[in-house]
């Protein structure tokens, strides 16, 4: 980096290229392949798997994003 670029910016550049960012792909893999969850059983509290799995997958998205945020913040 050239000298006129502030410290915060070069830190931001490093965090934008952190390998932790690959974790952001996990929620996509968990939800964009319907054959993984397109079934009725096992049911949870009488709710078919298709529905409770995808509601639970919201947590996968949140946890992945929080980990990436905490590991890459400056």
């Amino acid at each position: 980096m050239s000298q006129d670029v502030p410290e915060a910016t070069s830190q931001a550049e490093r965090s934008d290229h952190s390998p932790w960012n690959w974790l952001l792909l996990l929620p996509l893999l968990a939800t964009l392949i319907p054959p993984l969850y397109n079934r009725v059983s096992p049911e949870l509290f009488d709710i078919p798997f298709f529905y409770w799995y995808q509601l639970a997958a919201i947590a996968i998205g949140v946890i992945s994003t929080i980990i990436v945020y905490r590991m890459t913040r400056s």
């Binding site: 070069s10 934008d16 009725v40 995808q54 509601l55 997958a57 990436v68 945020y69």
Partner: protein, 548 residues
């Protein structure tokens, strides 16, 4: 105008509605600026919203009243496919996490207000910027109109008919948006979202309890779909619908943050960390949306009949009314009034932000670019304020004067056309490899394909014998049967996703061709390091000047 109106219900609704209207006007004084007559203040709330305000604002912006009535309606009618809203809003935040912070940084260094501002500076093409701006305006207009459909569904369920209430509601909305700018929806979003969370959490506890539990609810839904002649409905996806489900979720997620109103919410935030934190916190709304989708099944079990429906004549009625009708049946009057208000107010926040975003596109990328090149910041703000009024009147006329179905069709196409700005905006944040004329060629090809594809898609219903009957020849949905393209299969795919692929292929080929012909590239006035700038960076301008 009023038949069978419940006095308690409508009183609660009206009190809440009036309260947020007052809030909308008071908002002008909130985080008071020295001068509201600047686009950064009127149109972006001072570019200084912290994590909480941003969370309420973007949440209130993206999860609209129309979403709240249309998603459960889809689940009510077709089952599993309507649940696509959940994977859609799961994948969107991780996908845009890294992209939005780049957009925020470069926009704050240069003072960009709209995505087309960025395109203008990055690709050095005012034609491309104009196309991106027009695409944004055209995609947003029907979306605003649909918020009216959301309010209308609530009013119908309360027994209020006629157009006058909607005209009044929209006139008030237009007045405080004009007065307070983005501060109005930001402040109202606190009320809207609090009411929505309250209502949905109460609904998913109370309604299943009253209906005999989840087992009974899913049992009723299963029985309905088993009896229905439509092979595409059911508690889980039919085999050929899986590709459409995944591509619809993925394509919608790609499109969401290309919409000008989403970008307005992002650019109004204070720094990069506010955006990052919000990408982790916004899925709370996705959870609420998932629960809301399940209200569609509760409505089946509760035997809800959409308003205007006549089962014997085969008239389906207004499917969008099922959630308001369900609330009406299940809750005591006072609480159903709260629930109706939650949806009604839910329409105001996105309608305000969308009209501000469309107005900013008009001002920055058409008015300043072509009509008044030397506009002062005050003239820019004035132009946007007026344009926000025009946009709302247009939306109102579209709903009152035309068949609302026209707006629904346009909104369907809206997602597909806004996707065609992805190469110039989102990929443009990462690479300048694409030639400006290549991007224009790709945009044109993607648009043409998108229109052609949606024109080919009929709306089909099924006779009791299971025979398909075409009820609407064109623009009947967004799932394109691959057999239309000559493939021997029953699989269908989201038309917007295919249109984007067409766009990208043409974009690549045309870039190669223009380079081979030595057509000069546009000038890029952004620098690599600017894509990482954060709040304490001295290059961030306090009062951005117009970029030309």
């Amino acid at each position: 105008m009023f038949d069978n109106v419940d006095a308690v219900q409508i009183t609660v609704f009206t009190i809440l509605f009036v309260a947020v209207s007052v809030l909308g006007f008071v908002a002008a004084r909130w985080r008071r600026a020295e001068d509201l007559e600047h686009l950064d203040e009127w149109g972006l709330g001072g570019r200084n919203f912290g994590s909480w305000v941003t969370w309420f604002l973007i949440g209130g912006d993206l999860y609209t009243a129309y979403t709240f009535v249309a998603v459960p309606a889809l689940v009510f009618g077709a089952g599993a496919i309507g649940f696509f809203a959940v994977p859609y809003t799961i994948v969107v935040y991780p996908m845009v996490f890294l992209v939005l912070i780049r957009l925020w940084s470069v926009s704050h260094v240069h003072g960009f207000v709209t995505p087309a501002d960025f395109v203008r500076a990055r690709h050095g093409s005012s034609t491309l910027a104009l196309l991106v701006a027009i695409t944004g305006i055209v995609a947003t207009m029907p979306y605003i109109a649909l918020q009216l459909v959301g309010i209308e569904a609530v009013l119908k369920a309360m027994g209020v008919t006629g157009h006058l209430p909607i005209v009044v509601a929209f006139a008030i909305l237009a007045a405080y948006t004009y007065n307070s700018g983005l501060r109005a929806p930001a402040l109202i979003a606190f009320v809207k979202d609090t009411l929505i969370y309250l209502v949905i959490i109460v609904a998913v506890i109370v309604i299943p309890y009253k209906l005999g539990g989840w087992d009974a609810i899913f049992g009723a839904a299963e029985a309905k779909f088993a009896a229905s002649p439509n092979p595409g409905d059911g508690l889980i996806l039919a085999g050929p619908a899986q590709l459409q489900y995944a591509t619809l979720a993925f394509g919608s997620a790609l499109a969401l943050f290309l919409y000008p109103h989403s970008i307005t919410g992002v650019l109004a935030s204070r720094d990069r960390n506010v955006i990052k934190r919000n990408m982790a916190a916004l899925p709370a709304y996705s959870f609420i949306l998932g629960l809301l989708a399940l209200l569609g099944y509760m409505a089946i079990k509760a035997g809800v009949v959409p308003i205007g429906a006549d089962p014997e004549a085969g008239e389906p009625g207004d499917g969008n009314t099922i959630v308001p009708v369900l609330f009406d049946q299940m809750f005591p009057s006072w609480f159903s009034g709260v629930a109706m208000a939650a949806i009604g107010i839910g329409a105001l926040v996105p309608a305000a932000i969308m009209s501000i975003a469309a107005a900013n596109l008009w001002t920055r990328n058409i008015y300043v670019e072509y009509i008044n090149k030397d506009a002062t910041p005050k003239q820019e703000a004035q132009s946007s304020k007026l344009a926000s009024l025009v946009v709302k009147v247009g939306a109102l006329l579209a709903i009152l004067g035309l068949d609302p179905q026209f707006s629904i069709d346009l909104q369907l196409i809206g997602g597909i056309i806004i996707l065609q700005t992805l190469p110039a905006v989102a990929l443009g944040l990462y690479t300048r490899w694409f030639h400006r004329w290549g991007l224009i060629a790709g945009w044109a090809a993607g648009m043409a394909f998108g229109f052609w594809a949606t024109y080919q898609i009929p709306k089909v219903s099924f006779s009791p014998e299971g025979e398909p009957v075409i009820v609407k020849e064109h623009f009947g949905g967004s799932g394109l049967a691959l057999s239309e393209l000559g493939f021997d299969t029953t699989v269908s795919i989201y038309a917007g996703f295919l249109a984007l692929i067409v766009n990208l292929v043409v974009c690549g080929l045309a870039t190669w061709a223009f380079r081979a012909m030595n057509v000069p590239d546009g000038e890029d006035v952004t620098k690599t390091s600017e894509y990482f700038a954060d709040q304490d960076d001295p290059r961030l301008r306090d009062l951005p000047e117009v970029v030309h």
